[in-house]
Symmetry: C2
DNA sequence: TTGTAGGCGTTATCAA
DNA sequence: TTGATAACGCCTACAA
C-alpha cells in the first residue's frame, strides 16, 4: 500500500508537506506542489480514509438507518436526505436495520465515529427504548415511534393529515370507511393516524365501526392486497378505505380489482406518503404528501447543528412537517 | 471520549487485556473479564471503529454503490445484496452515485479501506472507463456497461431474456412491437436488449420498423408514461411494447390508459426486472425475472473471494445469471 | 494469563 | 514555506 511517506520520499519532501498538498492548504510553493502531485500520480497514491478519520476525528459522512431498503417510502425518503446532505457537503451512507435490535445497534455504530452523525428512522423501537437514545453522538430520529426521548425529532403531522384524508373520503360521499393500518401500539404511526381517522368521523357525525379497523402486520403491497380480498370476499360492508401507507393502498386497489370491485366507483381509496409510484398507478392514488423534502432538509439541518455544536448540548428539538392532500383518481379525481 | 485506556485504568488492568475482552479472546481469566466488563459498562465505553479499522486493516462491511436509491429495481437489488452479505457475516453500506464521476469516486473510496470491498452497479461508465477499474481493491461490477474490464463481473442474460420477452409478445399475436429503451451506446443494457429484440423479430419473419424503436433519457415511470402518450397520440401503429425496465413499462401502462388505450386488449406490454411492484400493478405486469437473489449471491461470493484471497490475483471472472419469463395480465395473463 | 512495545496512515501543532 | 514530533484509539507480536 502506498502511503503518504512513500510519496514524500519519492518527491523529496516531508510527509507533512504531502498532507498539505492533499488537503489544499495554502502556503505550499507552486513548484513543491507540482513535485508532490507528480509523485502521487506516479505511485498511484490514495488517501487512507480510515487513518484520516482517526486523525481528524470526523468523517464528512452521515449515516441513514432505515428499516427496509426495498420500500417505495424509505427509498423516496433516502433520496430526499441524500439530496439535502449533498447540498451541505455531506455524504450519506445507508444501512438497513430490519429490526429493533439493529436499530439500537445502529445507534452505537454511529457513536463509534464511523459517521459524524446518524439519522435513524425508527420502526421497531418502543417508547420504552427512549432512554437508550441518550447517546453522546449526534442523532436525529425520523418517525413517530418515540416521543420525549432525549434527541432531536422530525415527524409528520399525523393526526391532522389523517383527519384531512378521512374528511376527503367523507366529502366524496363515503359513509363506511375502513381504516387499514399496522399493529396499533402506544404511540406510533398507526395509532396517531387512527386517532385522526376517528376524529374526522366524529366531526362528521359518523359512527366508528370496529369491524372497519383492519390491522395487518406489514405495511406492504402484499398485505394490502390480501386484506382487501378478505374484506371483499368476507362480505364486509365498506365504501372507502384509508390506508396508512401508499404501499398498502396500492395493494388494496389490486385486491379490490381481484375481487371484481371497481375503484373509485364502488370503493374509494386513499393512501399516505405520496410515493413516486402512486402518481402512475391505475387508478392513480389519492394520498397525503408529507413534504419529504422539507422533512429531509430539516433532519439534516438538525443533525448538522449537533455535529457543529461544540458546547453545552442544547435542549432537544421537535419538528413537525407540513402536509398536503393530493387528490387523484382513486377517490374520484 | 472514553478509550480503552480509561477502561484499563478503571479496571486495574492493561489496555491489552481490555482489548482481549472486547474481542472475546480466550486466555482471559473469568474474574478479570468480569472486572473489565463492569468497568466498560460503568464508563459506557464504545469501541472506536475508525481506530479498529486502521489497526486491523479491515472493516467487516462492504460498500454497494448504486446510481439511484429511489428506484424499484435498485431497491430490490440492494435488498438481495444485503441479505446475501448478511448470510456471510458482512454488513453493507449503500451509497448513491448518480453520475459517472461519482462512480469513479466510489471506486477510490473503497480502495481507501473504508470498506473491505465494493459492489458497483455501473450505469454511467463507458467502455472507455474499463481501465480505470484496474484498482488494487476487491471490486465486483454488476451490470452491463463494462466488458473486458480487469474486474469480476455479474450480469444478466440480456440477449436471451430479451429474445424471450419479444417472442412472448409475438406468440400473443403482436405484430407491431415497439421497443422502449434508454440511449443506445456501444455495449449496454439497452443495446444488448435491442439485439435480442431484433433477433426475435427476425426469427419470426417480422421486419424491424425503426419508428418502433423509442429512446428516452431516463428509465423511469415518468418517461414511460410520457412517451406512451406521445406514441399513441402521434398515431404510431403498434400493438405491443417491450420495455427495458419495469418502471418504464408501468409508466407505459399509465400512459396508454391516459390515451384511452386498453392493455392488454389493444396493446400488450412487457417489462424487464420483475420489480416488487409489477405483481400488484393494474394490469399486473408481465416481465423478465432476472433472478436478483442469484445474482446478489454470486456478486457477494465473488467479492468475498477477492477479499479473502491474499496472493496472486487470479483471473477476472464473469457470471451471467438465470432468467425466467413471468406472464401476467399485461400480455393477456 | 497478562503486559510492553511498536505501528497502522494521517493530521495538528509548533518550531525552524 | 517546510518539517519534526506527537497524537488519534486500537491491535499484533512477543515477552514476562
Amino acid at each position: 500500500m502506498v502511503t503518504i511517506k512513500d510519496v514524500a520520499k519519492a518527491a523529496g519532501v516531508s510527509p507533512m508537506t504531502v498532507s498539505n498538498v492533499i488537503n489544499d492548504h495554502p502556503n505550499v510553493r507552486g513548484s513543491t506542489r507540482a513535485k508532490v502531485l507528480e509523485a502521487m500520480a506516479r505511485l498511484d497514491y490514495r488517501v487512507n480514509v480510515a487513518a484520516r478519520n482517526l486523525a481528524k476525528g470526523s468523517t464528512g459522512t452521515i449515516g441513514l438507518a432505515v428499516p427496509e431498503v426495498n420500500s417505495p417510502y424509505y427509498s423516496r425518503l433516502a433520496a430526499a436526505i441524500i439530496a439535502a446532505a449533498e447540498r451541505r457537503g455531506l455524504r450519506v451512507s445507508i444501512e438497513q436495520t430490519a429490526s429493533r435490535d439493529n436499530e439500537l445497534d445502529a445507534l452505537s455504530l454511529s457513536r463509534n465515529r464511523l459517521y459524524d452523525g446518524l439519522i435513524l428512522t425508527a420502526a421497531g423501537m418502543r417508547q420504552a427504548d427512549a432512554e437508550r437514545l441518550r447517546v453522546d453522538h449526534p442523532v436525529v430520529i425520523l418517525g413517530d415511534r418515540i416521543f420525549g426521548a432525549p434527541v432531536d425529532h422530525v415527524a409528520m403531522p399525523n393526526l391532522e393529515a389523517s383527519r384531512a384524508a378521512t374528511r376527503h373520503l367523507i366529502e366524496r360521499g363515503c359513509r363506511r370507511i375502513a381504516f387499514l393500518c399496522g399493529a396499533v401500539e402506544e404511540v406510533d404511526t398507526s395509532s396517531l393516524r387512527l386517532t385522526g381517522y376517528r376524529q374526522a368521523l366524529a366531526e362528521a357525525g359518523l359512527s366508528t365501526d370496529p369491524a372497519l379497523i383492519q390491522q395487518v402486520d406489514r405495511l406492504g403491497m402484499r398485505e394490502g392486497a390480501g386484506r382487501a380480498r378478505e374484506m371483499a370476499e368476507g362480505g364486509l360492508d365498506f365504501d372507502g378505505v384509508f390506508c396508512v401507507t401508499d404501499s398498502l393502498a396500492m395493494g388494496v386497489l389490486r385486491g379490490l380489482a381481484d375481487a371484481g370491485i371497481r375503484a373509485p366507483d364502488q370503493v374509494k381509496v386513499i393512501g399516505f406518503d405520496n410515493v413516486t409510484e402512486s402518481e402512475y398507478f391505475i387508478p392513480s392514488l389519492s394520498t397525503i404528501d408529507p413534504d419529504h423534502d422539507g422533512m429531509a432538509e430539516r433532519a439534516v439541518d438538525l443533525l448538522l447543528q449537533r455535529i457543529e455544536q461544540t458546547e453545552p448540548p442544547t435542549r432537544q428539538q421537535d419538528f413537525i412537517g407540513d402536509f398536503s392532500l393530493v387528490i387523484r383518481e382513486s377517490t374520484g379525481g
